[in-house]
């Protein structure tokens, strides 16, 4: 047999070779001093490298590792995510981030920018509407012209509603009547002024033709483009603006300062509603990609088994075949007990074991739920069995066994008699 290459030696030490290959290699190692010494080096590198990587502990962080099963939460995911800064209000032992690991989709920066731009535009729209409305009112106050108030107000307020007759019919009437109405009623002007912003309508065209609105036309066009993209806030704005316009029109003959205040109030209310609507839309968008019914973590995973695996410090679950391969014989078990699982544990964590090789760990639980571990490792030729002389550490054939766990030594000693 040619000399063993380093890769094979690593595969051997990692327990990745078939039993037949292992035997062949062991035969070779028995007769080849060079490979024997190489194996020694490889073992050293393997142990040290694996230890180096294992020593890179992830630093503790808020969304990091949960040691306890997640607490059941009925709160919608987005709420949990958006409310985490208020975690201080909750008991300190139950931070929001630890309670439920959330699958948060990364936010698209382009979308955020677009939303910001849109909000800014709506703010501008509200502000311009207020200024424009006040200006119109002052002008109408000077001319004292209140012609045809009811008619024009109704037509113009209805203009943004989606029913076709309301949109089409007023177009002809507003062309003649709207200029008068605008001079006479500030509220109508406000409603007319703001109605086009969310949705293009005949009113917008009329307004664009108005000399006063000339300077604003470009800005409104931009706003209309932006607003057309987002229907939910638009509808809300339509409703609020239409609603705000009506009472405002009723007070058209009152003093200018009152109308000014009311207009501001209506604009603020519209903005608030718009903000709420925007948040709702954002929340919906954020959760849209997630599967809506989310079963509680306890229902889908087995926290007990996971905890046990962590508690038992096994890094890999293995089957009986793999255990037999590791030990060179079928693994030992405690009679009349059924193991929770069999895993591999780091040799260096088991006293008396060869630190460079894994230990087969059979994990049991007694009737009271206490964890019992039966560690086993095949002794290599030359391996000092000196460490294996403790009460609960002994040798059967060429396998070192070590029984330990949560119950007291008396219980373990009783179990030791049942190890076969």
């Amino acid at each position: 047999m040619p000399h063993l290459d380093e890769g094979t030696l690593h595969a051997l030490l990692d327990g990745e070779l078939e039993l037949s290959e292992v035997k062949e290699i062991q035969n070779h190692l028995g007769s080849c001093a060079a490979c024997g010494s190489r194996l020694h080096d490889v073992k050293e590198f393997l142990t040290e490298a694996d230890r180096l990587v294992a020593d890179l502990h992830t630093p503790a962080g808020p969304a990091n590792f949960r040691r306890e099963p997640a607490a059941p939460t009925q709160a919608p995911r987005v709420q949990a995510a958006s409310e985490h800064p208020t975690a201080g209000a909750r008991p300190w032992r139950e931070p929001v981030w630890d309670a439920a690991p959330e699958l948060l989709l990364p936010e698209d920066p382009a979308e955020v920018a677009r939303r910001r731009r849109r909000t800014r535009l709506f703010r501008w729209a509200a502000m311009i509407a207020v200024v424009f409305g006040v200006g119109q009112f002052v002008r109408s106050g000077l001319t004292s012209n209140t012609l045809d108030l009811g008619h024009s107000e109704r037509d113009i307020v209805l203009a943004p509603t989606p029913t076709p007759p309301a949109v089409v019919a007023p177009e002809e009437t507003t062309r003649q009547e709207a200029p008068t109405a605008q001079r006479s009623t500030p509220a109508a002007a406000v409603a007319k002024d703001r109605a086009p912003a969310p949705r293009p309508s005949p009113g917008a065209k009329v307004l664009a033709e108005e000399p006063v609105a000339d300077t604003l036309t470009e800005q409104f066009d931009t706003m209309i483009m932006a607003a057309a993209e987002d229907t939910a806030p638009t509808q809300a704005a339509d409703q609020v603006i239409a609603g705000a316009g009506r009472p405002e029109a009723d007070r058209a003959e009152r003093r200018g300062s009152e109308a000014d205040a009311a207009t501001r109030e209506a604009a603020a209310a519209a903005m608030e509603e718009l903000d709420r609507e925007r948040l709702r839309a954002r929340a919906n968008a954020a959760t849209a990609a997630l599967p809506p019914p989310r079963p509680e973590p306890q229902a889908t995973v087995e926290p007990a088994a996971r905890t046990l695996e962590q508690k038992a410090q096994t890094y890999l679950r293995i089957g009986l075949d793999e255990a037999a391969k590791q030990l060179g014989r079928p693994m030992h078990v405690i009679e009349a007990m059924s193991p929770e699982f069999v895993g591999l544990a780091q040799g260096r964590t088991v006293p008396g074991a060869d630190p460079n090789r894994p230990v087969v760990r059979v994990v049991y639980r007694d009737t009271r739920g206490r964890m019992i571990l039966l560690d086993q490792q095949r002794l290599r030729t030359g391996q000092a069995p000196g460490a294996a002389n403790g009460n609960l550490r002994w040798i059967l054939g060429d396998v070192m066994l070590y029984l330990h766990g949560e119950p007291g030594n008396d219980v373990l000693r009783n179990l030791q008699r049942r190890v076969r």
Binding site: E6, G7, V42, F45, A49, V53, T58, P295, P297
Partner: protein, 165 residues
């Protein structure tokens, strides 16, 4: 599918973040990448989840052009950080050691490093091969090279530090 996905998340998130942290040296970034990986799993549920998730995560790391800069900066921070001693000396030593290990890992070839990190997460050779697109027979050689280089780089790093101090 929802249950599967939740289970997937529960089973692999921790391990994935740990691997990504070891790979990038940046916990926040590791979590971001893990989130992104699971977001992709939502879009296309994988058949063989563990290798799939880790392969996607490693691809994300590789694709990110800022990776090198970030990593360099992070390592530099770890190395030169003169933070006030918040805890006992042990913490400081651990940080120093982590920085040295990260620096040593950074000297490895991409594939060698990835094989090593996957092995540390309990992957067997078959899974490593599936994740990295290697043949199973090549995994032993890859790991052998990776381990040797890591240890050598770490030792020389430590020697450099001792000489400097």
């Amino acid at each position: 599918m929802t249950a599967d996905l939740t289970q997937l998340f529960e089973q692999h998130y921790e391990s994935l973040v740990r691997m990504l942290y070891r790979r990038t040296g940046d916990r926040d970034r590791a979590e971001d990448l893990a989130q992104e990986t699971f977001a992709r799993a939502v879009a296309a549920p994988p058949n063989n989840p563990r290798p799939w998730l880790f392969a996607v995560a490693l691809n994300l790391v590789r694709e990110d052009g800022r990776r090198t800069v970030r990593q360099g900066r992070r390592l530099e921070l770890l190395r030169t950080e003169d933070r006030p001693t918040e805890g006992p000396d042990v913490d400081f030593e651990r940080q120093e050691r982590s920085a040295s290990i990260h620096a040593a890992l950074a000297t490895l070839g991409e594939r060698d490093r990835e094989a090593l990190l996957l092995k540390a997460e309990g992957f067997n050779y078959e899974e490593i091969a599936a994740t990295l697109g290697l043949s199973k027979g090549a995994v032993g050689t890859t790991l052998a090279r990776a381990r040797r280089r890591l240890v050598e780089a770490y030792r020389s790093e430590a020697r450099g530090k001792n000489a400097a101090s």
